[in-house]
Point group: C2
Chain length 257, copies 2
Amino acid sequence: MQCDFRSSIECFARHGVRKTAVWRDKLEAIGADEAARILNDNGVEAVSFCPGGLLTAADPAKALDDNRRWIEMAATVGAKSMVTITGGLETGDRDLAGARLRALEGIGKLVPDARAAGLRLALEPLHPMICGLRSVISTLADANAILDRLQADDVMGLALDTYALWWDSELERQMERCGARILNFHVSDWLEETRDVRLDRGMPGDGQIDNRRLRGVAEAAGFTGDIEVEIFSEADWWQRDADEVVKTIVERVAVAL
Amino acid sequence: MQCDFRSSIECFARHGVRKTAVWRDKLEAIGADEAARILNDNGVEAVSFCPGGLLTAADPAKALDDNRRWIEMAATVGAKSMVTITGGLETGDRDLAGARLRALEGIGKLVPDARAAGLRLALEPLHPMICGLRSVISTLADANAILDRLQADDVMGLALDTYALWWDSELERQMERCGARILNFHVSDWLEETRDVRLDRGMPGDGQIDNRRLRGVAEAAGFTGDIEVEIFSEADWWQRDADEVVKTIVERVAVAL
């Protein structure tokens, strides 16, 4: 069962989980100040804020304003990074190259704001199957190329999600290039019978991704942060009791990673 | 409505479509000799046979035997190429690199058989979302690399499917590398609201792929073959009358490509 922000954080605390990503919609529902109090009361730390970005819109001014507000929210809850996705294509738009250019320009404009807020922007490439829907950046090679262009590694970093990237034959070589750029490491699993392009992720160990090997590659490259388990699962895990979900996550991180 | 082989070919002939890919399951249902007669009677030519390959199985001997039989079937109906997909991961297997190696070795073993039958093998990279299910080769870069390794361009070529490849920022550069390797060019469209990872393709013009631009790139690279429209669409186009589907395809090829 999906639950509200307070119930989630209390559930984490019950299971000894002391760090979490925080989701924008949950924060918007109660306000960032109240969220910060709940985190503090329960001894849980916000490691990242998800998601920012969405900068490919034909009119980027509103997207920039939104992101400045989100950066403030992320800083209020003490998040170290804002996971930043580029956005996809608007209806009728078929110009991927143009959308990628708008994303690059938009992220560049956020760099000073993030720097001022003491927040890192963790660019996250997403799976090619949501290229049009959420992220015109689908590979770690493309994400690394954007960071090379921006020359702002004091602020910019990367969020790696094994679900998004596992299929890529270039992945390991690109991870080795990342080094300290890897700010967030998201895991879940690819189910053999995947029924939805966004909301049918599996628990680590239940699918086809060699998460343990990829974690090893990330750590060998220089990643020193925490593992974030991210299970979008409308028909399965989201229907279960929160304590069962968190307990399972804790067990799986121990055995499958 | 999906229909049997004879009805399909007669439908194509009614709409002036004189070339088609032929699908293995439809041929197996009636036999390759009967299929060849139906094609001949209707003045329709088989440009390709789909799909061969599926060589990543832990026991590749059966897969090789199957492929030799399929090569014979393809030759019987006069197909110029067998569209060859690598296969995915077996249940419990997480070793993508190992599966890719088996695919490379398996394809290499088919080269002499295809050469003897006068048939080209058109390696087809498929979308990353079916990496585990159907093809551990997801990019044109990886497919080109396999052809580079095999050094058998008299037999080996490529089948490009815009639905599988459109999201890739490297696509255009890799297509330019292909030249005469492009034996088949498959088009459909990526629907903004995609509801299934395999069977929810759109008709060209209804989605987010710039098929016209990609056709231009293929032709500039040296492709001189025919456009093959391939619409896996369980909930929509497969429910419609065959004449409506073929009529729509003919119209769309004229306006969207």
